[in-house]
Structures are given as C-alpha cells and as structure tokens.
C-alpha cells in the first residue's frame, strides 16, 4: 500500500518543512502546517481501504501497517479532532513564540497517533507510542512553566508505562518470534498461566498511564494544563484515547480468553470508577479553568475505562461512545479556554466574569460541551452515560453505579462553575474590551458543537462504526447490533435514533434557549462584582466576591477527608527517598585514588574467594 508511505512521508516532511518555514514567512508556515495535517487526513479517508495491509521490514523485523474498522474509529477521532485543532491552532498560535516548535510537535503527535492505530505489529506500535510520548512531552514543556516537575513527571510515568509495554512486547516476542499483534493473539492461548496473567498487566499499565487511570493519573492535571490549549484539546481529546484504544484491544483479544479475566475487569472497572470520582472532586476544587478541565478529563476517562472494563456489550459500546464524545466536548472545552486565554490572558475563574456578551460563540460552544459533558439530554453525552448506567446495572454492579452516579452528579458542580465563572455573572470593567476570538478558532468549536448535537439525536452515526470495530476485534462470535440490548434506541429505517420523547425535550430546550438568550440579551444592565451590599456593608475592593469561587466550599468540606490523601504526595516522597538513596550511593566514589585502588584489590579478592561459586 503506497498510501501509507505517502501519508507518513507528508507528515514527516511537513513537520520538518513547517519548522523551517517559520524562518522565512509566518503565513507560509501556517499554510504548510494546515496542509501537512489536512492532506494526509484527506488521503487517509479517501485512499486507505480496510483489510489491505502494508508489510515491510526494518532491522530484520517484519512490520505490518493496515487498518480494520476498530482502528478506523480511532483514526477518525485522531484525524477529525486533529484537523479541527489544527485549524484552531492557526488562530491560537498567532503571534506566539516558538510557533515552529509547536507545529512540528503537533504534526508529529497526529502522525504518531495515526501510526499507533494503523500499526498491526507491536514494534511500530511501540515506536509510534514513544514518538507520541515525546512529542506530547515537548508540548507539555512548551510554556517552560514548572517543567522540571510537571514535564518530567509526565515523561517518567509515560516511560514507566511504555517500558512495561516494551517488556511485554519482548516477552511475547521470545515466545512467538514475531512482533505481529495477530501472532500474539494467536499464541496467547498457548502460553503458561503466569505469562497469560502478566502480559495483559504489562500492557495495561502502559495504557492506563496514557488514559490517566488511578493511581497512574498524577501526571495528567499538570500536563494537560501546562500544554498550550490548542494542543491540549488534542492531548486530552485524542491522545488519551490511545490508552483506551490499547486497553480495549487487550481486554477484548487477550483478557477475554483468560478464565481469570473477570478479575482484570473488576479491578479495572473499580479503578475507573474511583478515577471518575476522585477526578471530579479535584476538578471542583480548582480555580483555574485549565486545571479544572484537566481533572475533568481524568474523571471522564474514568467513565470510559469503567465502561470498557465492564466488558458487557453495552458497556463496551458505552465506553467507546463516550470516548468519541469526550474527544468532541473536551476538545471543544479546551479550545474555548484557549480562546478565553488568548483574548483575556488568564484562565482563572476569580478574575474573569461575564464574558457571555463579549464572546457569544465561545459561550455557545462551551454551553453545548458542558451539557454533553454533564450527560444531559439531548446531547450525545447523555446517550453514553445512559448506556454506561444501563450496562452497570444489567451486570449487577450496583455499588459501582452509585459511585459513578455520585461522580456524575458532583460533576454538575464544576460544569456550573465553568459556565458561570467565565460567562455569567457581573461584567467587570477590566474585561470590557474583550472581543470574540478569531474565526479560525471559533469555527472548529462550533463545528464540534454541532456534531455533539447531531450525535445526541442520531447516535447511530457513531454507534455503527463502533459496532463494526468491535466485530473486527472479535468481540462477539457473530455479527450483531450490540445496541439492541439497550432500552433507549430505536431503529429508524437504517438509522439508530433515540426515543421520540427526546424530540420534545429538544423542542423545550430550544424554546428556552431562544427565550433566555433573546430576553437576557435585551434586558441586562452593567453590574460590577462590587455592586452589591451585604447586610448594609459595602464590600471592600480587595474582597473577592466572585460567586464561582466560593459556592463549592460546603461540598468540598464534606468530602475533605477523602481528598486529604493525595497519591501525588506519596509519589513525590518516594522519588525524594530514591534520590536520597542515590545521593548516598554515589559516595562510593570518594575521590581518593587509594580508595579506588583498594576497591580493585577488594574486587579481586572477593572474586577469588568466590571463584568456585562464580565460575
């Protein structure tokens, strides 16, 4: 297949060219950048066909690239979100420094993610995985803020994951002597029980890290909020999905054939649930939109993991559907934050208020995404959440349902905080001159909002590819429509739609939307934050009365005992302890020549003493 070579050549060449084009002309650079993301995207969707693969070999290792329906689904997420984020990035990056660096790593990230999904062998999978890791790492440190801590934490966790995977890969190779994923799946049944347990664990560690699952999630908040927003939308939206991609692959093809697999599923599902809960709680606590969304991403990925880990037909469907939805709404939300950051220079709720009239389109996109995120009908998020609940209940995970439900409800708090903090509330003088973001930034957001809306009504658009993908993986023995077990879907002709009752909700929603927006637009007056009085006292200038900061306090006080135990702290302590140990160990090199000579003598004598054991 020539297409693959061309696609990856364009990505690579484009990345390098884009980097250097910045030295010549900024606009040329933008065009090259867009071209090197969009052209391969077009080529991929028009030129690559299912089932045909490109075999080649490198360093004596046979490699294979190709796609099936399952990987196509993720390619869709990657390239779709990638293209929109690329368009957005043009506007976002305007006038920023290190543009070439950003573009270069952006293109490489998209390329590596596409590479991951087209890899049919473990080596190219790993190579692309690592390229993804370091290109995203370079983005995390883009701002130069706190990089020795946040950046290295991200890379270390990724590396732990990647090396666990690498260990799994070489162990598999020592048994199969090939690196093809197909062969691994074939040989898995014949391995010893010990390996059958360890290999999925090794792989799942890698994927859990990328999917930011408890307790391997500690890198995520810092990394997501540190990267430039144009990239974070891709980072949280698509890159974390690579973890989900691998997880589903391992769960379906390997774990499902293991009698003990149920334990994997239970543990993963619970970890996912806990991740969702903890992520939500921490998100509520944040005053910075970037951090809030970062924790929210962790939480959302928790739902996804729970869904795919439950592993019933609906659960898998729910997980993957939520994955697509998450890509859409979290991508949009990060873009919105990016737009606000670009226009105002800050992302702190305590500083910004009342942007609704300054940035209406951004508000609209945010509103849609928040609705989707919270799982409120009629947007797509509801469909996913519903399926998740249904699958949990039908598989008798009642405790887990409670946990998820708690997380999901608590999630409303930060959803509200986000909307209110930025867009509603009094308009401050400080933000009077804020304008709507440029069109290149707004259009991708609006487009994605539309998709979310459409998916809420016609989930079949995406459920079908998911279904086909799962069939390709061999999830169930014979072809069937997995969504048929759910109570909320109707088959309408060839399309999967929601129950008509939802249409009435849509109608009501639209009515109120128009009413509120129209009315609200007409009858407002300027009120500053300080334009209130409490019990006859006029608040002083320096008192922060922004509502969005304080309203979650009671709730946070209630859950404070849970949040006191930060996993991050333990990791930090551990790392400090290790470094202390290393510091102690390097004192071996005392700097005295005689000591070194003494070591030699000691070595010789010890080896001579134990020569019968050693040789």
């Amino acid at each position: 297949m020539e297409t693959y070579s061309i696609i990856f050549a364009i990505f690579l060449g484009g990345a390098v060219l884009t980097y250097f084009a910045g030295k010549l002309n900024s606009i040329l650079q933008d065009i090259l950048f867009l071209g090197s993301v969009l052209v391969p995207t077009y080529l991929f969707f028009s030129g690559v066909s299912f089932g045909s693969a490109m075999p080649f070999s490198l360093e004596g290792i046979s490699l294979l690239w190709g796609i099936d329906h399952y990987s196509w689904l993720f390619a869709l997420i990657v390239l779709g979100l990638g293209s929109l984020a690329a368009v957005y990035a043009i506007g976002y990056m305007k006038g920023k420094e290190r543009k070439g660096y950003f573009y270069f790593n952006f293109i490489l990230s998209v390329m590596s993610m596409l590479g991951i999904v087209v890899s049919q062998d473990l080596i190219s999978f790993f190579i692309f995985w690592e390229i993804m890791t370091w290109s995203s790492y370079l983005m995390v440190i883009y701002n130069g803020k706190d990089i020795q801590r946040v950046g290295i934490k991200y890379f270390v966790f990724s590396a732990i994951g990647a090396y666990a995977m690498l260990m799994g890969i070489v162990i598999v190779h020592s048994i199969t002597h090939t690196f093809f994923i197909e062969d691994m799946i074939q040989a898995y049944g014949h391995m010893s029980l010990q390996l059958q347990i360890w290999i999925p664990i090794l792989f799942l560690i890698a994927f859990a890290v990328k999917a930011a699952m408890m307790p391997l999630h500690v890198w995520a908040p810092g990394a997501y909020s540190n990267a430039p927003m144009a990239y974070t939308s891709l980072f949280s939206g698509a890159l974390s999905k690579m973890g989900v991609y691998g997880m589903v692959l391992i769960l379906v093809t390997l774990v499902s054939r293991l009698p003990q697999g149920i334990w994997f599923r239970e543990v993963l599902a619970w970890l996912g649930g806990i991740t969702a809960a903890v992520g939500t709680l921490w998100a509520i606590k944040q005053d910075d939109a970037k951090k809030l969304l970062a924790y929210s991403s962790v939480a959302q990925l928790g739902y996804i993991i729970t869904g795919v880990a439950i592993g019933t037909e609906l659960g898998m469907l729910a997980g993957l559907f939520l994955a697509v939805m998450h890509a859409l709404f979290k991508g949009t939300l990060f873009m919105a934050v990016g737009a606000i950051e670009k226009q105002t220079g800050t992302t702190n709720f305590t500083e910004i208020t009342g942007l609704i009239r300054k940035m209406p389109w951004t508000f609209l996109a945010s509103l849609m995404s928040i609705i989707a995120l919270a799982g409120i009908p009629p947007l797509g998020g509801f469909v996913g959440k519903w399926m998740l609940y249904e699958s949990l209940i039908t598989s008798d995970h009642y405790l887990l349902v409670i946990l998820i439900f708690f997380a999901s409800t608590a999630g409303f708090l930060y959803c509200y905080k986000f909307l209110f903090g930025f867009f509603l509330g009094q308009e401050e003088k400080e933000w009077e001159h804020v304008k709507e973001a440029p069109a290149t930034m707004v259009v991708p957001m609006i487009l994605m909002s539309v998709f979310m809306f459409v998916l809420g009504t016609f989930p079949g658009i995406i459920l079908k590819p998911i279904n086909n993908g799962l069939m390709d993986l061999g999830f169930v023995d014979s072809y069937k429509h997995l969504w048929e077990t759910s109570v909320i879907f109707n088959n309408w002709g060839d399309h999967v739609i929601l129950q008509p009752i939802l249409y009435s909700i849509i109608a009501i929603f639209l009515f109120f939307l128009i009413l509120v927006v129209w009315k609200g637009y007409k009858g407002t007056r300027y009120v500053t934050t300080k334009d209130i009085s409490t019990s006859g006292e006029v608040p002083k200038e320096d008192e922060n009365l922004t509502f969005s900061v304080g309203f979650t306090q009671p709730f946070l006080r209630a859950v404070a005992p849970v949040m006191r135990r930060q996993i991050d702290k333990y990791y930090t302590e551990f790392a400090k302890g290790l470094e202390g140990l290393f510091e102690f160990m390097r004192r071996i090199y005392t700097g005295n020549a005689q000591t070194y000579a003494l070591y030699v003598v000691v070595f010789v004598v010890i080896v001579l003493l134990f020569k019968d054991v050693l040789f």
Binding site: L598, V601, V602, V604, V605, L608, L609
Partner: protein, 233 residues
Amino acid sequence: MKKVIVILLLAALGFYLGTTFFNIGFGDPHFANGVKDFYLKETVDNLHVSNTVTSIVVNFRGFDTLGEVTVLFLAVTALGSILYKRRHEVGTRSVLFSSSSVVTAGSKLLFPAVILLGVYVFVHGHLSPGGGFQGGVIIATGFLLMLLSYENYSVSHKWLSIVESLAGIVFAGVGLLGFINGGTFLQNFLPTGVLNNLFSGGVIPIIYIAVGFKVAAELTGVIYTVLHEKGVK
C-alpha cells in the same frame, strides 16, 4: 584500621598468588610444546643471532618492541604535555648547586667512556647480554651525570627530538621495508651473516641501534624536562 584491612586483603591476595605459583613450580619445565624451543632453534639456524632474547625482542616479537618504543616516546610526549606551562615560562633549572671541580672534571672524563660503553652495549645487543634499551639507558646516565655536575649544562631539545624521531622512523621504516621486500611487517630482508659475528642477524642490529639512540634521546629528554621543572615555592 585501614592498614589492618589492607594487610588482610593483601594476605588473601598473596595466598592465592602464592599457592598458584608454588604449584606451578620453580625450575621445572611447565609445558611441553612451547614456542621457546622454536625460537631457540630458529635464532641459530635462520637468524644467526646468538642472543635469543634479542632475536625475540627485535624479530619474533618485534612488534611488541615497536610498541614499547612507542610507549617510551609517548611517555616523553605526555611528560612534556603535562609539564608544559612551567617550562615555557622559566627556562632555568629548579635545583641550582655548584659541584666541586673534582666532580666536574671527573664527569668530563667519564662522560665519553659512558657513552662508549652505551654504544658498545647496543651495538653488541645481538651477541651478548644487553641491547638497545640497556645501551640507551647507559648513554642517558652519561647525560644525567653531566646535568648533575654542571649547573648550566644544557642539551638541545630540538636535537633530542630529531634523534628520537629519526630513530623511530628508522625502526618503523625498516619494518615497512620488510613489508615491501618480504611481504610481512618487520621481516628480515638483509643477509643474516655468520653466527656470533658483529655483522650478523640481518636487520636486528640496525633496529637495535635505532632503539639505542631513541632510548638514549628519550631518557635524556625525560631527565632534562624534569630537572628544569620549577617547584611551587
């Protein structure tokens, strides 16, 4: 404490080395088909060199000797490099003293004799005990004698360097000539003469004479360099 540990360790080391070598035995033939019998035979039959050690050093294992000469050369170079700065700044001797006239006159008398002895030793290296290295060292002691007795005796560094280089070139060049004439490096390409004659052994005396010059120049250079090193105070 450290001393006790060191002594214990060395005792252990000594024990192992001792048992090994005591078991190997002293003065017994340790092995049956060693290369030495071949050397002893060939040095008489083919090379016509009576000093087998010389024939081994210069011919059979001549490559080692080339390396050895290089080590000396490098030692001098490294020495010069390590002590470079001071010598550049101060050209005078660090230890200044005046010797009595008996010493100076005696040294002057002895000097040619020492040189002659050195030359004799390396010229006859293939016939009798001795050789280039030993002869070279003797010559260098002659210079040491002069340097010690005369406070302003100086040796031209340039000439030392030239002699050293030329001698080295002769060695390597003879080796390459052997390569050109005989097909292998350092191969003998001259007639070997008659055993126990001064002119025998083919290229061996030539190489040993070159080595003698080289060692003499290098050792003199070392002495000279270190003597002109000025202390810190």
